[in-house]
């Protein structure tokens, strides 16, 4: 009975975290957008523009092509559920469960991209899977570096282990590898370009071109949430200063600072270079893979 109560509490707390994360995710997207605009000499949108856009989209009707099946209509919900679930698992879940949830969401979105039979969707889906085949193994190896130290794939144990030995050599290697993964997973330059209108060059955006209205809004929200999940994994596992008897308020404060700094760093990274040729991506991921392997060996 008691353990049931405890489980209930854990679940409720996890859900609370997930809600908070989903609510905060568009703000992080906004910070990246504004930072990029400033770096490009533009005034840029309001920090809260992403919220306004989501609010607008979620009220709108969705146009669905008559040639699509249930996969097209359900995929945004599955994608969002995956991101939400991953967010809920961040504090008390298992690493593999978190990754599988995200991968399941991506799988359905890629299926949906083929569903409408439009050419851009198919191109987007095939490129997304091509990139993910390269990203996912590297991501696993990178995170296993931390898991090996912790002796567990529980995220709580991993963050505790990371906090106890910050900035050791393997972690630095793994951190650089993870940063590359972060760029690829969030669809940013030099792997993808989130701001382009050129369909032929798109990866993630091409996949969701057929979507509109509230389903599109849901996909945007899920993508922003997934981005925040990755940024949080990065800050908690690879920028761990927050241990050492700080009060929960201060822990939260430093977490926010680190997330904002990571977001700004992403914007700088994205402005400082151009998109690479699609077939150069394996080399880039290979670099991350080598670093991740080195990290694991050094561990």
């Amino acid at each position: 009975m008691v353990s049931n109560m405890e489980q209930m509490t854990t679940i409720l707390i996890s859900l609370g975290y997930a809600f908070a994360l989903v609510l905060a995710a568009p703000l992080v997207s906004g910070i990246i957008k504004v930072s990029k605009a400033r770096l490009q000499n533009r005034r840029g949108p309001s920090l809260f523009q992403v919220y306004y856009d989501l609010f607008k989209l979620l009220q709108k009707d969705s146009v669905v092509s008559p040639t699509t099946s249930w996969i097209f209509t359900c995929a945004p919900y599955i994608y969002f559920a995956g991101a939400f679930g991953a967010a809920a698992l961040l504090t008390s879940g298992d690493l593999f469960a978190l990754l599988y949830l995200l991968v399941a969401g991506r799988f359905f979105l890629a299926l949906a991209s083929l569903d409408a039979g439009s050419s851009f969707g198919g191109m987007g889906g095939s490129r997304e899977l091509y990139i993910s085949v390269l990203v996912e193994p590297v991501l696993l190896v990178t995170l296993l570096t931390v898991a090996a130290r912790a002796g567990s794939t529980k995220l709580a144990a991993m963050s505790a282990a990371a906090a106890s030995t910050p900035f050791s050599l393997p972690y630095i290697f793994a951190a650089v590898a993870f940063l590359i993964i972060l760029v690829a997973e969030t669809g940013r330059i030099p792997v993808d370009n989130p701001d382009t209108h050129l369909e032929l060059t798109m990866i993630h955006e091409a996949m969701v071109l057929e979507y509109s209205g509230r389903r599109l809004g849901l996909i945007f929200l899920a993508a922003a949430s997934k981005q925040l999940v990755f940024i949080l994994l990065f800050t908690v596992l690879f920028l761990p200063w927050q241990s050492g008897g700080l009060s929960p308020v201060m822990v939260f404060f430093w977490l926010v600072v680190k997330v904002v700094l990571t977001a700004v760093a992403l914007a700088v990274l994205e402005t400082s270079t151009n998109k690479m040729r699609l077939f150069k991506v394996p080399g880039f991921m290979g670099l991350a893979g080598m670093l991740a392997l080195l990290a694991l060996v050094a561990q």
Partner: protein, 503 residues
């Protein structure tokens, strides 16, 4: 500018063209038809050839009697450059090029009512109705894993309509078909019967980014017809307009190219510099596209000494900033990796298709009308014509960069030497049915306007061959062999104009 005209019966066109082109000295520059049934009871096909070495034009005028079969032997099997011209003649005049390998409609699309030829004199524009859709077959590419990707005619950005059909295996492009002319306006028809001065307004609006080049070609053709003397100061101010147009185009295009590969710093700097130049245009003429400056016989507005200094000061700043921007690109491996060896247009293809302008000079074709057939004040200005040989996206970028720098030097030079004098000369009159043409170098390449006068200083026939016209087919040569995500980049490096086709 008239050159030698050789009049022949249409049946001997191919033989005559072979003679002119023998040895490769003369190359096809333009080809168009004229309905001269009111004058002499026949249709005429005009074929213009230009030789850089001789700095001369040769024109063949092939006559088709109105009672004969309305056909002529196609030149396309001899020279690929003739393909579009002949399809256009077929669409607009109903004259059939016999032996043409591809007579699908070009200008008029599938729903045009058959048997109506808009550029014939007896065509009534008010009575046009849509016809039944006819077939427009796109050549299929077959094989395992080959997909067709249709793109357009409506695009995501604010650009004009054009349909592209890629045949791809994986990401590799095997074939590209471009279908254009979606917004044809019939300007050539609309100006028939108008006075020269009224038609000027239509000419100036054929295209935004080449307003000056189009206007200049037109007024020079009229001035040549009417033997008008243009004052020297006006000749210099015309060059100022033409070079300011080239400058804002090239600077904007360098920035735009960066959008093809997502290089944000390049995009924003390019648009900032372009904006400065367009505001200068507005100060000079009240119009960001420099419209209303060039007129028949000269120019409408003078520039003050104060403006001369302001221009020089602004251009000095632009020079520095442009060098900074180019430095960002030249020393940037990530950038060079995208542009080097991408979208190569071989020199032979450029020659065969009669490619002009930046695209030609990036593929080793050393040809610039300003130097090789000088007009306005270019005769007395010294400048360098940059030529690159790689034919890739990078080469077209560096040609633009060098030309922009050269334009600034030309402007400095002409402001220094600016002679005093009147702004306009008196327009002479012209005998009916005389013809003349003029060519200028627009930011995109040589731009040819041909004109035949009617009664009372009006236009009988007007033909416009913009720089984009011969360059569009080159795009479909440069693209196959590249991957699909590189297409926007290659397309931007050519920077072709849709409106210039849809005149």
């Amino acid at each position: 500018m008239i050159g030698s005209v050789q009049v022949i019966p249409a049946a001997t066109l191919r033989a005559a063209a072979t003679v002119v082109c023998h040895g490769g000295l003369y190359r096809l520059t333009a080809m168009f038809a004229n309905d001269e049934r009111m004058i002499n009871g026949s249709f005429a096909i005009y074929v213009l050839f230009f030789s850089k070495e001789d700095a001369a034009f040769k024109t063949i005028k092939a006559i088709i009697k109105q009672d004969d079969l309305l056909e002529f032997p196609s030149l396309t099997p001899l020279m690929a450059a003739a393909a579009w011209y002949e399809r256009e003649i077929h669409d607009l005049f109903g004259l059939t090029p016999v032996g043409h390998p591809d007579l699908r409609p070009l200008v008029l699309h599938e729903n045009w009512s058959q048997g109506r030829y808009p550029l014939r004199k007896d065509f009534e524009p008010d009575s046009v109705e849509s016809g039944e859709n006819i077939d427009y077959p796109v050549p299929p590419v077959q094989g395992k894993g080959v997909f067709e990707v249709p793109v357009g005619p409506i695009h995501a950005g604010i650009i004009e309509p054009g349909h592209f059909r890629f045949s791809q295996a994986g990401e590799n492009i095997i074939n590209l078909e471009a279908k254009l002319f979606f917004a044809h306006r019939g300007i050539e028809k609309a100006v028939e019967g108008l006075s020269f001065s009224k038609a000027l307004f239509q000419t100036e609006r054929i295209c935004g980014a080449c307003s000056v080049a189009n206007t200049l070609s037109y007024v020079q053709a009229v001035e040549s017809l009417t033997n008008t003397e243009v004052p020297l100061r006006a000749e210099y101010l015309r060059v100022l307009a033409a070079e300011l147009e080239r400058l804002y185009n090239h600077v904007g295009d360098i920035g735009n190219l960066c959008a093809g590969l997502g290089f944000a710093a390049g995009i924003s700097n390019g648009s900032r510099l372009k904006e400065q130049l367009m505001r200068l245009n507005e100060r000079l003429t009240g119009n960001r596209f420099l419209r209303g400056w060039i007129t028949l016989g000269g120019v409408t507005m003078d520039i003050t000494q104060e403006l001369v200094q302001d221009i020089a000061r602004l251009l000095a700043g632009i020079t520095d900033e442009l060098n900074d921007l180019l430095g960002l690109l030249r020393d940037n491996d990530a950038f060079l990796d995208r542009v080097n060896t991408t979208g190569i247009l071989p020199q032979q293809a450029a020659l065969d298709l009669g490619v002009v302008g930046v695209a030609a000079r990036a593929s080793g074709v050393d040809f610039d009308i300003r130097r090789d057939f000088p007009y306005a004040a270019y005769r007395s200005l010294s400048f360098h014509v940059p030529v690159y040989t790689n034919g890739d996206v990078a080469a077209r970028l560096w040609v633009r960069a060098d030309e922009a720098a050269e334009s600034i030097k030309i402007i400095d030079q002409l402001l220094e030497e600016l002679p005093n004098g009147k702004l306009t000369g008196e327009l002479g009159s012209v005998e009916p049915y005389q013809a003349a043409f003029s060519m200028t170098e627009s930011p995109r390449g040589s731009n040819l306007h041909w004109l035949m006068a009617g009664e009372n200083n009006t236009i009988y026939r007007y033909f416009v061959r913009s720089a984009s016209y011969p360059n569009w087919p080159a795009l479909t040569v440069a693209v196959p062999g590249n991957i699909i995500p590189d297409f926007p980049l290659i397309n931007k490096s050519f920077e072709l104009c849709y409106a210039c086709l849809d005149r």
